[in-house]
Amino acid sequence: MRKRVSLALAALLVCAASEAMAARSASRDPVVGLRRLTEQEYRNSIADIFGKDIAVQGMFEPQVRMGGLQSTSAMILSVTPVGFESFSKMADSIAVQVTDEKHRGKLVSCKPKNPKAPDDACAAEFFSHYGLMLFRRPLAANELQARVKLASDMTKSTGDFYNGLHYGLAQLMQSPNFLFRKEAAVKTASGYTLDGFSRATRLSYLMWGSTPDAELLKVAEAGDLNSAAGLEKQVDRLMASPRLEAGMRAFFSDMLELDTFDTVSKDAIIYPKWGGAMAPSAKEETLRSTIDLALHENGDMRDLMTTRKTFVNRSLAALYDVDFTFDNDWMPYEFPVNSGRSGIVTQVSMLSMFSHPGQSSPTKRGVAVMDIFLCEPTPTPPANVDFSIINDTHGALKTVRERLMAHATTATCASCHNHSDPIGLSLEGFDTIGQRRLTENSTPIDLSAKIGSKNFKDGTGLGQYLHDNPKYPACLARKLYAFGTGVNSEDVETSTFKSAYKSFIDSGFRMRALLKGMVESPDFFNTPAPAEEASAGQLTKLASQKR
């Protein structure tokens, strides 16, 4: 009898949900974006939905960098068999933890009538809640029903209600609806714009680097994110949350290409100081100092190029040759004026990532600075280039500068090298692992550089050059827009982030102002026409031309 009642209850729940969904599915919106969750987004989402003590262990498929950002590749990558196998195992291990005896009291909101038998009402409650959180929209009736049935079958096979929940939950996390952020658009008078849930998702993954919380989803469902006032209220709430730091860490980590460290090898014979702890330390230094300026100090983002303030830990202190007098892991530190260090381009991270294993590379450094901070990617060099003269350290050309200058006299090379090399040459005062040096092969290093009509000298001069270069803040705004929308930064129209950029300038280049200006501008949620429609439109055009 009891069983029949609970089944009836579940059926009722499912029916109610299906009615609500009927309206939704009748007018399904075209999908304009499908973005595979990045590793960080996956980890943050799981932590926010289930709690930080749920371990996420496994391999994530690599991404590729496009238009200066890895996140952009989330728009074109799929899931390979190896990747799915890993997602599958991860999902299972997370679901086991969520439903184990330690966590079920907190994470499973209802109790089954009999822990050894199916309880569809309790299962429906469980899957409705986590389905909403994981799919970033409510489950449709048939979707809910499929999980309730799966849980029920599994409970019967294993004689354990919680095991049923475990399998149903694992399934939710293997679904493309979780692994991909689906962005759907609705038609407006002037084009297409994201629907409520897609807005909430785009907003949350940009600002928090994670899944929207219950409140944001509720507001999205009510349609409040479509009004300027409703949107602003939520943006301010997201902005005030400590989670903002996670979002901005994800952005800067991507923009500053800090993943490069995952595969940097340094020559231990030439540079024994480069130990295993160095790469993660250097990465953390850069993130810490950037976040400190951008969020904690609410500083002028142009100062990122000139500030002598940073954070060091014990291993970095050794490399920077400064005393480490601190009990904790990280110590705030300000380099002295004559240290040669100023701004992010003179940090160990930037200097070592863009170098060879045992030798600095002005070209690599120059190309990286142009690409990362000025949004000016350098074309691939022509296939047939003879570099031999610049590598003969025993010949007449003693320093890298002399060797580079020799080949930059060739017209084909010069067109690119004249752009990037001066930047890299001004950083030659630092070796491949970022230690300061004054000579190379016993010859004093000339750190002067000239770009266009601007003359400068060394890392400090380069920092000032970048600080004063309007291309840098514009590039930062462009990359933030690309990171948020998934559009390749090279294809981003300047007009789409114009108003955000204006807020950025008006605020004195504060990151928060840029972010707020960006997400509150209608352009942030507007999208081009869906692909099918575009091609249909083109066909019509063609047909009419034929006529």
């Binding site: 075209p30 499908l34 060879h356 045992g358 003879d386």
Partner: protein, 442 residues
């Protein structure tokens, strides 16, 4: 006592033998090798990728056909001369597409198509095409490993920008193959794991979402999601395979977990990781965990370096001067030899596993290839390609084939034929070919 524990325990001290040794009575009337269960051994396929090619002057033999001369750079492979074929002078025709540096060459070899986009494949790669046919019933459709530690170093793809991630360390490769889920075929009390059966039901619900999920997608996203649901399907097949008692029982030793080690571009580390990974791959093929194994020692444009060399392999190919007396780049030539030594170390592992009338190498085909022929100028004509193993008797070996400008796709087509695929032609544009190296096919 648990037999697997016993085996592991024994290995701490010495070796253990898994399975029953092959005996002549396991050979069928044609002398074909059979597994202990009487099942014919499948022909397995592997690839070996090495970046930056070789030095033409030092590797291309003068003579063609059988009994060609062993050149300086082929010297490390001498032990396998009779068991392999060498292809020189094969062309990559890019047609109207750019020659993407360190990409067009290797992509063309594995797809028969000059890539239209950098770092993307214009079709499924050859190992996947072969796996579609030969891998049914084995646990993993394909397995890949990257000996300098970057999971991106894998040139196996279902098409597009996605490549199947490689296992970046011997330990991760070991865990994938012989960790949880590994079914020791020789266990007397073998029975299907009930947990695995339950996973099947979970996956079928994922598959059921396909129709609904695809509904509102544009064409590009539809293609991406086809790959996703293919991956789901492969997981289902993997589970189905795990529920079957493996039929192939080999005379091999499953070693202990190799443990943590530094895996990066430093040559001494690559020299440790390569044979270790090759061994694990070989064991995986011998025990039918997979029938397709891809090993890359680096990316195209290899960043491998010899400690003490400040520039490393790739930059050296561009920056080192040609020695006017020698007529080549001496340091680059040394790096080339390291690649051949590493290839030899893989072949050695395949050849070390006895199977019926021969070794695993004899019952498989390994395609070794690179991204450039002359890396200094990013040339793609004459990229070295080697085929080792005689594919269970279907490929004759010991030849040097001078391609004379024939498209690289001829090698790929011949490989597929030798692997038993019913293909008539392969490749696109100028590289579309129906021309097999019939002289190599038995």
């Amino acid at each position: 006592m648990d037999r697997r524990k016993l085996l592991r325990g024994m290995f701490q001290g010495s070796a253990a033998v898994v399975g029953v040794p092959f005996l002549d009575c396991f050979l069928d009337s044609k002398g074909q090798a059979l597994a202990a269960t009487g099942q014919r051994l499948p022909t397995r396929f592997s690839t070996f990728f090495f970046g930056l090619g070789l030095t033409t002057k030092l590797w291309v033999p003068q003579k063609t056909g059988l009994d060609y001369d062993t050149t300086i750079q082929l010297k490390p492979l001498e032990a396998f001369k009779k068991k392999m074929n060498v292809f020189s002078g094969m062309r990559v025709m890019v047609d109207d597409n750019p020659n993407f540096q360190h990409w067009s060459g290797n992509a063309a070899i594995v797809t028969g198509i000059a890539p239209t986009k950098n770092a993307q494949f214009d079709s499924k790669t050859i190992d996947q095409t072969i796996a579609d046919v030969i891998s049914r019933g084995s646990r993993f459709k394909t397995v890949a490993a990257a000996a300098s530690g970057d999971p991106k170093h894998c040139y196996s793809s279902l098409g597009g920008a996605n490549t199947l991630p490689a296992e970046p360390t011997p330990m991760s490769l070991y865990k994938r193959l012989f960790g949880p889920g590994f079914q020791d075929p020789s266990r007397g009390d073998w029975k299907p794991d009930p947990q695995v059966m339950l996973q099947q039901s979970v996956l079928s619900v994922v598959s059921d979402e396909r129709k609904d999920f695809m509904k509102d997608l544009g064409p590009a996203d539809k293609a991406r999601m086809e790959q996703y649901f293919t991956s789901v399907r492969e997981s289902e097949l993997q589970i189905a395979a795990e529920l079957q008692r493996p039929e192939i029982v080999a005379k091999v030793t499953i070693p202990a977990d190799p443990g943590e080690m530094v895996v990066n571009y430093a040559l001494p580390n690559v020299r440790v990781a390569t044979p270790l990974m090759a061994k694990l791959g070989a064991l995986a093929m011998a025990t039918d965990q997979t029938r397709v194994f891809n090993l890359a020692i680096s990316e195209p444009g290899s960043n491998i370096f010899v400690p003490g060399d400040p520039l490393g392999y790739h930059i050296t190919t561009h920056m080192e001067a040609i020695d006017l007396t020698l007529g080549y780049q001496p340091k680059v030539a040394e790096y080339n030899i390291y690649s051949m030594e590493l290839l030899a170390s893989m072949l050695k592992e395949l050849d070390a596993i006895p199977e019926g009338d021969g070794t695993l190498l004899d019952h498989s085909l390994t395609m070794a290839y690179s991204d450039q022929s002359y890396a200094k100028i990013h040339a793609v004509d004459g990229i070295p390609i080697f085929l080792a193993g005689n594919a269970s008797g279907r490929m004759k070996t010991g030849f040097h084939i001078a391609g004379g400008g024939a498209p690289v796709s001829r090698v790929g087509l011949t490989v597929q034929k030798a692997m038993g695929l019913g293909v008539d032609g392969w490749g696109k544009g100028s590289m579309e070919t129906k021309s097999l190296y019939t002289e190599l096919l038995a």
